[in-house]
């Protein structure tokens, strides 16, 4: 659905994107994660042909992003935290304005989304709160059943209640559509994303399916017979190795339940017990981000 290859984007002397490559499979919910300024929004703007790449290519729906035309835009839903809509029109007027541009617009679906999101159709867009505006943007992106839905920081600044309403609205209509969602907070896309890519300073750290990612990351706690000392040599897939008393902890990034004991014993002497537990997405993100900064990952 989306293929990004060696994408570069410069703003003056600043490289916002530095050779970014990733692929969004059809039907996936792909999360683009990264801290503020990592290049998520720039990537999305390039995909939407709002910005032109400096180098490299981005293809969506089989079309080069530079050539995205109304034909492709009619199949893409776009929701952004920074979307300028005509503030003097009412919600209803703007929806009515958008309707004819989409041949697949479903008025029944529109009404049902409006109801579900509890949108005041008669209120002027300029008078809506940030949360309401985000819900309205979602409402304007779903009734034509887009093949691809792009959400740029959709949860930014939303209170938990509105966020839940937004997510319900989104998930109810997701169906077969491919979703690309950017966020600086991995926890926000927990339960939504099927795939994830980490961006840092315009570079991709990695891209992986969510099940693989959560499956291969474990926090391992090794209890030793005596006071623990950091092993001199450890496998590169072990990260954040720490010792407290006779306990040594690390994050195993290539977790294999059957082989863990053997690997620990081959690296560390005097092992009394080994425990492993799954990690929250937020902690995985932190580990990876820290490792990226330290030149690992």
């Amino acid at each position: 659905m989306i293929l990004v290859e060696n994408l570069w984007k410069k703003f003056g002397r600043f490289d916002a994107l530095r050779g970014l490559s990733f692929e969004v499979p059809d039907g996936s919910a792909f999360a683009l994660i990264g801290a503020n300024g990592a290049g998520k929004t720039t990537t999305i703007k390039v995909l939407m042909n709002i910005l032109e790449p400096t180098r490299g290519s981005a293809t969506l729906l089989g079309v080069d992003s530079r050539k995205v035309s109304p034909r492709e835009l009619a199949q893409i839903g776009y929701v952004s935290e920074n979307q300028d809509m005509p503030s003097r029109l009412t919600v209803g007027e703007y929806v009515a304005y958008l309707r004819p541009f989409y041949s697949t617009w479903d008025r029944g679906l529109e009404a049902s989304i409006a109801r579900q999101l509890r949108l005041p159709l008669e209120r002027k867009i300029g008078d809506l709160s940030h949360g309401m505006r985000m819900k309205m943007a979602l409402m304007c992106a779903l009734p034509y059943r887009p093949k691809l839905l792009i959400l740029d920081e959709p949860f930014s600044g939303l209170d938990p209640l509105v966020r839940d309403e937004f997510m319900e609205g989104l998930l109810d209509q997701a169906g077969e559509m491919t979703i690309l969602i950017s966020s600086h907070e991995l926890g926000e896309i927990d339960g939504v994303a099927t795939h994830v890519a980490f961006l840092d300073e315009g570079k991709l750290l990695f891209q992986e399916s969510m099940s693989d990612l959560t499956g291969r990351f474990r926090e391992v706690r090794v209890t030793l017979e005596s006071e623990a000392a950091s092993p001199k040599q450890t496998p590169k897939e072990w990260m954040e190795i720490r010792t407290i008393g006779n306990v040594l902890t690390f994050v195993d990034t290539q977790f294999d339940e059957n082989g863990l004991s053997e690997r620990v014993h081959s690296q560390i002497a005097g092992v009394r017990g080994i425990e492993s537990q799954p990690m929250a997405l937020r902690n995985i993100f932190t580990t990876l981000a820290r490792a990226a900064r330290d030149g690992g990952a």
Binding site: K45, M48, I50, L51, P70, R71, L73, A74, I76, Y78, S80, N82, Q83, D84, M85, P86, R88, L89, E93, Y97, L98, P100, F101, Y102, C140
Partner: protein
Amino acid sequence: MVWHIFKKDWKLAWVFVLVVSVVHWIDSAITYKLGLFNEDPMLEMLADAVPMLAFFASMFLIGAIVHLDSIPGVRQDWLVRPISRRDLVVEKFVFVVLMVNGPIFAAVLVQGLAHKFSFRLSLVAAMWQAAYFLFAFTLPLFSFASVTRNMTQAFILGCGCTFIILGFQTIASYLNERAHGTLLTIAWSGVGWVGETTRFALSVAAAIIILSLQYFRRKTLISRGVVVLFGLVLLATQFIPWKAAFAIEQKLSPKPGAATNVVVAFDLGLGKFRSPSGLGVSSEQGRRYNPGEHTSVYLPLQVAGTHKNAFLLTDLVEVRLIVPGGKVAFHGRGERLEFAEAALNNLAYQEIQVPASVYRDIKDQPVRAEVDYSLTLFGLRQSYSVPALGGDERMPGFGWCETKMNETETAVELRCMQPGKGPTCATLFLENEANGLRNPPRSSCHGDYSPYSGWYFGDNMAHFGANVPFRDPSALAKFPVDGPQLPQSRVVIRVYEPEDHFTRQVEIPQIKLKDWEAQ
């Protein structure tokens, strides 16, 4: 989808459109109420202010319309909608033309009809005005607005452009002054329309390039470069050489060859210029404002070979004074001359204002004078007449005129109005119908050969007239038709239209300037 986007813009901008339209209509109402004699001081003051208000309001309206779906920026919702760029630019253009030019068109048309001009004349005037406004104002501003995101940005960029224009104009004026007026020759002349039309053509070209770049490729930085580049080229059109512009005008002469027999020659026989009579107002003013900076030299000229009922106007007089050795000591402009019927085949003095320092250096030397004349021969097209007192006539093919006595009771005030650009040249005199006596004619020429009419604001009506004297307050002159005869008299207006544009060169092999200085 053009109509669909149009409806959205109307919903968003109708109040602003209405306000600007009302300002234009108020402007028209004021001009209408002023009538021919502009006698209400309050209305006259408003007539100065409201057009400027309408001008700036239209400017803001164009910006506001374009900014409803602005091009620069990355946040606009329309960028992610399946909206055809072609539909968008067409809609914006149509909306701007209808909402900005439409009310102006309507105002001029209604005003023409209110003045009881025919529908055809009023319509033609309204169409020219709308077309002029489109090319001179709407299109350039539309292009400019498309390279800005919002009104603040437009204002800042506009201020920058104004600063560049003022700087350019200051430099241009300085250079022109140093070149004694020979650099900026076509502005405010009869062929000024050549420069203006060039600017329109450049504006259209710039608009096509900028709007294509913006709406189809969203290349704002390049477009801004194009704005600046075309802006400088537009400013540079002031420097279009006179010869090139006048050559175009010559090609467009209505009766080419009509001036073949016209001869302009230096005539020693008339002797030195001695009397202030015939001295042009402009030269008197020039001396008043620049005492000691210039010395006026008057060369006697004879014009011959014109047909009866002709009128001759110098469009540009370019003078070169060449000292022995071939060096050009002075290259500048001479005063413009008018030769009305009565003056033709007679003598006139060509005034040349020589800078005092140059004059001091060469006044005793024999110099060669070369005077290049660009001239227009006018033929009488039609005569009209209006009663000298209380006249109120609508003359088909001419316009509407009224007459009244002036406050000092020395002249008859004639004021006329005509849809379009009005007559180029006319002579006026008082004639007693009963005894056939006539006063000497007065000429009034504005030498505009533009094939079209229009201005940035106003009603696209030519407002013109003159005061026709019948009594000299100093009692030195006696007019054949005087005050008591006015009830039986009419103001005769003889309208002249250009027949041929031509050039002549007068060479005076050897003269000493001090011999021709005014006494």
